[in-house]
Subunit: 377 residues, 2 copies
């Protein structure tokens, strides 16, 4: 236990903005380092949907996220362990962060029951009854061999009353302690998750309890669950300030390009979200000028790329007219090309933010970012 | 007219087997040459389903096929012309062959009506009434800018009575004459299609009538429409022998690996078929040992690639267990990886046949091909 507590931080700070809480750094893992602030594409079922690992490398992804809940159900963590771990299984040799399954179990709602011991839930695949304790979540993630593991947590819906929030937050802290104790010396990092809903003092309590245990990084959970944008940003700012500045700070499941800019401004280092990949499959493209809904008939004869300021494979080779044709024809290539573009946009946005922080011009970057989106095409 | 007739053949013979009718050569087009015997991946809607043009180049495809009927309906040939032609539209700079739409209209059956003037049919997309004459089919293909155009033909179901077959065959010849007359000097090649169902003398009649007009290549149509394998091979052999040996010979819509080997043996140079791409999306992989149905539970823990003799991207990087997981999880990457493998197999099979012909060892190749498929894994 004390060994884990005294382990050096995997985070190395490069530059701190003098204008705001934004900072640049890098995180060291068993599969190399990644630079922060970073966006992690989501690879739920051991694949980032519709693209290959080579596509991810080409578009600049340095770390991806995989979902413990999904892989636990199918194909099973023991199978993945036997086949050499998740990296080998899916042909990805850069870092992987696995979530704990807590958020997915929370999303099952009436199909799940939380007790002191852990979470009982029904599989969304076949309805079978399953149980995951904090120790099980660590064991599953150790079998997967991810570089960063997350503690099993109890996510709180919005809005939630104070009593319920306090109970869930304290349970999350007790589970965090059990998770740290269950961890073996595999070289994997383990992050704690701060809950506390929209109550600043409960967020503070959660931070204190996690710091008492000591983790390799700290995540903000239970945000982007339906609360107003301003509230999400206030809680993010409040919580990020309380966390030790020499450890990575990860805002889970966030978010829009605007969310990313605002959260980096408030000191967050790591993000993941299904938005770029899911919206790509629904024909929504993120661009420097805002969003392009590719099925709109205005694009049917448009010879321009999705984003004239973009250097991705899709924008270098295809027109909006072609992408609209593929989308209307339900061609698989539509999902592939749209996903490459959207992930390149998100990864590129983070790269631009890192450069702005290094140049200590983050406020100017933020101003330009918003102004660009208001210009007509 | 006479200019087109006197144009030199685009086909250059390299090697002729001394053991059988198999031959190696190349066909010259506006977008470069391709070697024969060749398999053309099918890109129905201006995309070979689930792969990029770069994937096709990497797996060795030298020419692809696109469907006139589908592109005529959506997005429309005029739009593709305005956007710079099909090559630019879909980002493919190697040769493209477009079919004429005849086979698709034939497949619509009760939705189509054939007259002397052309084919009236209902769109499968919105039921609108459309009409395509032989001249229209040439105009559409000229707008698309394909390297090889096909004459509009009337495909004959199997079985068909002699009177019906004679009428359809002669109509196809009259349409072929009108197609050749309608062609402009664009540099595009135009192939005639031999019909005649399973009647050798009507196939002979069709060949005579097409040779009278004169084309840049000759295709065998109306095969692989439900007739027994032996009959298909007999008609292929009979017809290929009648065609001028200094022009390319194309067997449309064929076929299985076995069909390809048997048809090359009988002198065929060009093939297209949806089988490798469609079966890939249904989880069926072609291998040197036969077929692998990837969803079968026997593969759930199998660490081997689909084909241990294969050098494709999929076999170099992924296990059967992973491909099965992707397929069971309905991940888009399953379609992508399976398609790359199957097309590589088909393209590689043609490459092996070309080498065997060049070494004048085609009979040995054919023997090994069948023996390999009987070996246990």
């Amino acid at each position: 236990m004390s060994d884990k507590q005294n382990r050096p931080s995997p985070f190395k700070l490069h530059t701190r903005s003098t204008e705001c809480a934004a900072r640049c750094g890098e995180v060291q893992t068993m599969h190399g380092t990644f630079r922060t602030p970073i966006f992690m594409p989501v690879g739920t079922q051991a694949t980032v949907k519709a693209v290959t690992p080579e596509n991810l490398v080409e578009l600049g992804a340095e770390i991806i996220l995989a979902n413990t809940y999904h892989l636990y159900l199918r194909p099973g963590h023991e199978l993945i362990r036997e086949l050499g771990g998740l990296h080998h299984f899916m042909n990805w040799d850069r870092p992987i962060l696995t979530d704990s399954g807590g958020f997915q179990i929370f999303s099952l709602r009436e199909l799940a029951k939380i007790t002191e011991e852990g979470a009982a839930f029904k599989s969304h695949l076949d309805g079978s009854l399953l149980f995951l304790s904090p120790e099980d979540a660590v064991e599953v993630q150790e079998a997967l061999g991810s570089d960063i593991m997350m503690c099993l947590d109890t996510c709180i819906p919005y809005p939630a009353d104070r009593t319920e929030t306090l109970a869930a937050t304290e349970l999350t802290s007790r589970w965090a302690k059990r998770s740290r104790a269950a961890q073996h010396e595999t070289g994997q990092l383990l992050f704690g998750i701060v809950q506390g809903s929209m109550y600043p003092d409960l967020r503070s309590l959660a931070v204190d309890q996690l710091l008492e245990i000591g983790f390799d990084g700290y995540a903000l959970g239970g945000l982007s669950v339906g609360e107003p944008h301003e509230l999400m940003m206030d809680i993010t700012e409040h919580t990020a300030k309380l966390l030790p500045q020499d450890y990575p700070i990860y805002l889970m499941g966030v978010g829009t390009p605007e969310n990313l800019v605002e959260s980096v401004y408030r000191g967050v280092d790591m993000f993941d979200c299904v938005m770029p990949t899911r919206n790509a499959r629904n024909g929504m493209l993120f661009t420097s000028r805002g969003r392009v809904v590719i099925k709109n008939s205005q694009y049917s004869t448009d010879p321009r790329p999705p984003d004239e300021n973009c250097g991705c494979y899709t924008c270098r080779n295809y027109s909006r007219a072609y992408l609209r044709h593929l989308y209307m024809s339900r061609e698989i290539l539509a999902y592939h090309l749209n996903t490459i573009h959207n992930l390149y946009y998100f990864v590129g946005l983070m790269r631009s933010m890192r450069q702005a922080i290094e140049n200590d011009s983050f406020l100017q970057f933020k101003k330009d970012f918003y102004e660009m989106r208001q210009e007509p095409e």
